[in-house]
Amino acid sequence: MNTWTIFKRELTSYFTQPTAYAIVVIFGFLSTLLAFTIGNFWQIDDASLYGSFFPYHSLLMMILVPAVSMRQWSDEHSSGTIELLGTWPINIRSAILGKYFASAVVWALALLLTCPIVFAVNWLGDPDNWTIFSGYLGSFLVCCTFIAITTLVSAFTRDQVVALIVSVAICCVLTIVGLEQVINEVRRTGPDAKHAVDVMTQLGVFSHLREASMGLIRFTSLFYFLGLITTCLIGTNLVLKSQRS
């Protein structure tokens, strides 16, 4: 019940300020622009969107997701409203979940509004729409992971800029560490790098997103995303509790 009340307040807050509108428009514009430029949408000649569209989502999200969610807890600290939340007869977990789900809904909307490209590939060719759906699901899981990371970081500080910088840095590492170009560079260092390559592939979001955009969502990928999300949200709960003691 309290989770729902906080979820509604947070979601309304996103849409009474320009934040949500800006993110939806910027993400929609940039993801499409990247697909048609460096994604080589026309040259690839593939309607599945596997190579041209989904790989660039994580690159955009690693910056845009922290920009939306950085205020989640840092704003509560700086305005002092954390004191109201802490003295109401609620469990702080419900506030964490309410805020988290509100951010997730904003991003679900941002992803949903990139649908013109799906209509376009269906008009131009005959793609497997389940594969495209799987790609969207992978993108959404990346989003949710980055939101959870930003939630945790924002619980540490009352300064939104610090929350943004640290969250972007963590999300960048998780994205870049799994990029094919980076993996190939490490692989070139010699046969001893095999173990490092395996770790980097599993640690980064990129390989999981690539598999999802091919229509393959493995149990390990789900475990990776849900594990990171759960860990960050539990961590947020612990941080918020420890700050009061």
């Binding site: 009340t5 307040r9 807050s13 002092g80 409203t81 109201l84 802490g86 003295t87 109401w88 007869p89």
Partner: protein, 241 residues
């Protein structure tokens, strides 16, 4: 209604509140006086369940804030020192949100919001965004959220801070009226408020109670003036340094 026994709070090696004990009964308004850094706000934050205690016991209407915080918090209305609010909401929207967080719904929620708006004289700004309010209105909006659920216990941290003289007078009257039916703990720097609104007062210094009694008794102890007693029993910042 409020029972505090042996309350201690340490932040690392610093002792903010040291073995503090007091009680507030129904129909009593207890003024919590003390210089800056005396431990007033820390005590109030522990009484409301926001800060965990290092040791000691706090009960609100016989419910322990330490072992049964959610039930105890239902009995408390709290106005924090800085009157924090969500600036992106309207006054009415904020109060409705707070009422929902207090498990009030439907007609009961609307009645509670309307009553709080009327009690705190917020009719003129009910539909205004909180971000555009003056300090006085912000304070009264935060006071309104503390009254929404008609709590048995009110904890008010400097409730008249930032109000103009007329508003201060109104809030003091309001506290005095509410105090007939509730137990009120309120902190202030303004010594006149103690005689105007309190039935009893304690003076806190460096985390301990250094004076306790009715405003008249305390004034008598100070040789006829509460100011003199306050000056005598508390440590000024220059002395502390």
């Amino acid at each position: 209604m409020i029972e505090v026994t042996g309350l201690t709070k340490r932040f690392g090696s610093k002792v903010a509140v040291d073995d503090l004990s007091f009680s507030v009964k129904k129909g009593e308004v207890l003024g919590f006086l003390g210089p800056n850094g005396a431990g007033k706000s820390t005590t109030m934050r522990m009484v409301t369940g926001f800060l965990p205690v290092t040791s000691g016991e706090i009960t609100i209407c016989d419910l322990s804030v330490i072992t049964n915080p959610e039930a105890a918090k239902k009995k408390i209305g709290y106005l924090p020192e800085s009157a924090p609010l969500y600036n992106d909401m309207t006054v009415q929207g904020f109060l409705k949100f707070c009422a929902s967080m207090r498990s009030l719904g439907g007609a009961a929620r609307q009645t509670a919001v309307d009553h709080a708006i009327e009690t705190c004289f917020l009719e003129n700004v009910a539909r205004q965004s909180i971000g555009t309010l003056s300090k006085g209105y912000r304070h009264r909006t935060c006071l309104a959220q503390a009254l929404l659920h008609d709590p048995e216990v009110l904890v008010l941290d400097e409730p008249t801070d930032g109000l103009d003289p007329n508003q201060k007078l109104e809030v003091r009257k309001l506290i005095k009226n509410l105090g007939k039916e509730k137990a009120i703990l309120f902190s202030t720097h303004i010594l006149e408020e103690v005689t105007a609104a309190c039935t009893r007062a304690v003076i806190v210094d460096q985390g301990t109670i250094v004076a306790d009694g009715t405003p008249e008794k305390l004034a008598a102890e100070g040789g006829g003036s509460l100011y003199d007693l306050f000056h005598k029993v508390t440590t000024s910042e220059t002395n502390a340094a």
